[in-house]
Amino acid sequence: MRGFEVRLERLSRRLRSSNGSPASSTAVRIPYVPCFVSPSRTADVTLAPSVGERVINLDQIPCGGVELADFPQPESVPLPMPALHPRRDDPRMPGSTYAVVWREGNARARVGKLELAPRHLLLEGAAPRSHPSRRRLPYDALVAVRVGHGAEDRIEGRPTLVLERTAGRAIRISTIDGPGTLHELAERVASAMSIEQTDPLGRSVRRRSGERLRVLIAGGGVASLEAMLALRALAEERVAVELLAPESHFCYRPLAVAEPFGIGEVHRFELAALASAGGARLLRGALTAVDARRHVARTGRGRSSATTSC
């Protein structure tokens, strides 16, 4: 077998040959080890000769057979999850069909049927002297559902179910069977929206088109930076993160014990740079109060950043 046999040993950023015979030429740069080698063992990996680059990205080295080292992660436990199979009262139960008249925006009304499917509702119908059409409306594309009694909402004098959408004009639906059926339909659509737009914790999921969830993280320490990075990794562009901190720097404080002995020092990082790298915006200030109902955080001057010590 051709190639170099190298060893990643003791998690160091070094490449070593197994027999100590040095090869010539320039160094290999290892920017980061993406596979976590068990620290208690060495892992032998082989660089095939086809890898002809001067700089190795270790992503190119297969990690198969390499034990994963311990890593900070909570263990997975069962969570309350939405039912995988529809219950009898699940509004998403298929096969629920209503005779309706519906209208999109100010367009002509169409007569047809509405079917409640597991993840969307389906409208099929035709206006007089026109071709039949179908509209498929995913529940997570609906913003609101209400029963409209106003003149602008009514179809042929009957109240309607008004579906507000994330994009596009509202759709108004009246039932032929009367107002009782309309309210039943309203409840079922609203319930379907609630389930479809709910996360595993039972919380409403915000999915409006283009809307980013604004997250304010108060603090400039380990927890806040970890949260910032985790949110960016998990939610990506779904969140807009702001970091609120009175300090100008993040201090790697655990090494403070080493300073008096000259074997280490507390490193200071500019919070603005860390926030920028983490895709967040840094706000200066100290959190003093929260009005959860109004979604308002109040700030004060807090500790002076100039005098805050690491």
Binding site: M1, E5, V6, R10, S12, L15, R16, S17, S18, N19, A23, S25, P31, Y32, V33, P39, S40, L47, P49, G52, A69, D70, Q73, P74, E75, S76, L79, D199, P200, R203, V205, R206, G219, G221, V222, A223, S224, L225, E226, A227, L229, A230, L231, A235, V239, C251, Y252, R253, A256, V257, E259, F261, I263, T288, A289, V290, A292, R293, S309, C310
Partner: protein
């Protein structure tokens, strides 16, 4: 998300409280006095209410190593703690390793006692007894920031659930030292932040199944020699998960084991990665020319 940490306060009247870098000069002065033989009895005291004891053990071990290196043999070093065993939070394996380290450094251990106050050259202990103590070094207690509008404990800490959600405050999360979770440590704070971030990400529509906070302690103990890596899961049991090793038990092997923050900082500066250990007898560092495709195989 509220993650604005906790505030420090003095925990032991008459003792010197080590809070961080701001006290480095004072510790240096203490070391100089010890080397010069200006006092005889030095006590490192863990007060009641301080749950994260590791820095105190580090200060004791590093001090003893420093004094030994300077030939200062006339100072009696003692560690007094309310724990039943040293670093008991990490479980029996860590406690045993810690006992050996303390003994090797000549540090006397007084466990199961609460340091109460420094009075007339002695450290008074509760429930009974005292220790000769010319100098006493201790750690601070923490108190919460008392954020208005958020339910908090009498000490100002915020109660949150396993997903970081603050009780009675919709859409408000908390993580880290500001929470009422009793262990105040960077790695724990990061784990809380991860749980909260997963819950928030799911709320934002990300395809994430939030996992609750399940605390795992990871501590890198500076000893003045080979560091120790300590690990324990805090899920109860009888210490089966307690581990103490001289090899890293997590990656990057830094002081703060955060899933996202640790590799981020390691990539940023490399500071979290300690110097490579001495080369083993069977390994030699080499440079490899990857352009030399036809090089002969390197192998035994």
């Amino acid at each position: 998300m509220i993650a604005c940490g906790a505030r420090t306060r003095e925990a032991l009247p008459g003792a010197f409280t080590f809070r961080g870098s701001e006290d480095s000069d004072a510790v240096r002065a203490l070391l100089a006095d010890a080397r010069a033989g200006r006092f005889r009895d030095l006590v490192f005291a863990l007060p009641g209410g301080a749950t994260w004891a590791l820095p105190l053990y580090e200060l004791a071990l590093l001090t003893a190593a420093d004094l030994a290196a300077h030939g200062a043999t006339g100072v009696n070093v003692t560690l007094a703690t309310h724990e039943e065993a040293p670093l008991a939070l990490f479980g029996p394996a860590a406690s045993e390793a810690m006992r050996e380290l303390l003994e090797a450094r000549g540090i006397a251990l007084r466990s199961g006692v609460y340091p109460a106050a420094v009075e007339a050259g002695r450290l008074r202990l509760v429930p009974e007894g005292s220790l000769p103590a010319d100098r006493v070094l201790t750690l601070p207690r923490l108190k919460g920031p008392f954020i208005a509008g958020v339910p908090h404990t009498d000490e100002g800490f915020i109660q949150s659930d396993a997903f970081g959600r603050v009780e009675g405050a919709p859409d408000v999360f908390a993580a880290g030292d500001v929470t009422a979770f009793p262990v105040k440590q960077g790695g724990i704070a990061a784990q809380q932040a991860d749980a909260a971030a997963e819950a928030i990400a799911a709320h934002a529509g990300a395809a994430v199944s939030p996992r609750p906070f399940r605390p795992v302690l990871r501590g890198l103990l500076l000893t003045g020699g080979v560091p120790r890596y300590l690990r324990a899961e805090m899920g109860g049991g009888h210490g089966e998960t307690s581990t103490a090793a001289t090899e890293p038990l997590w990656w990057p092997p830094g002081k703060i084991a955060g899933r996202h923050l640790a590799p981020f900082l390691a990539a940023w500066t490399g500071l979290a990665v300690p110097p490579a250990p001495p080369l083993g007898s069977g390994a030699v560092e080499v440079e490899i020319d990857l352009a030399a495709r036809e090089s002969p195989q390197q192998g035994p």
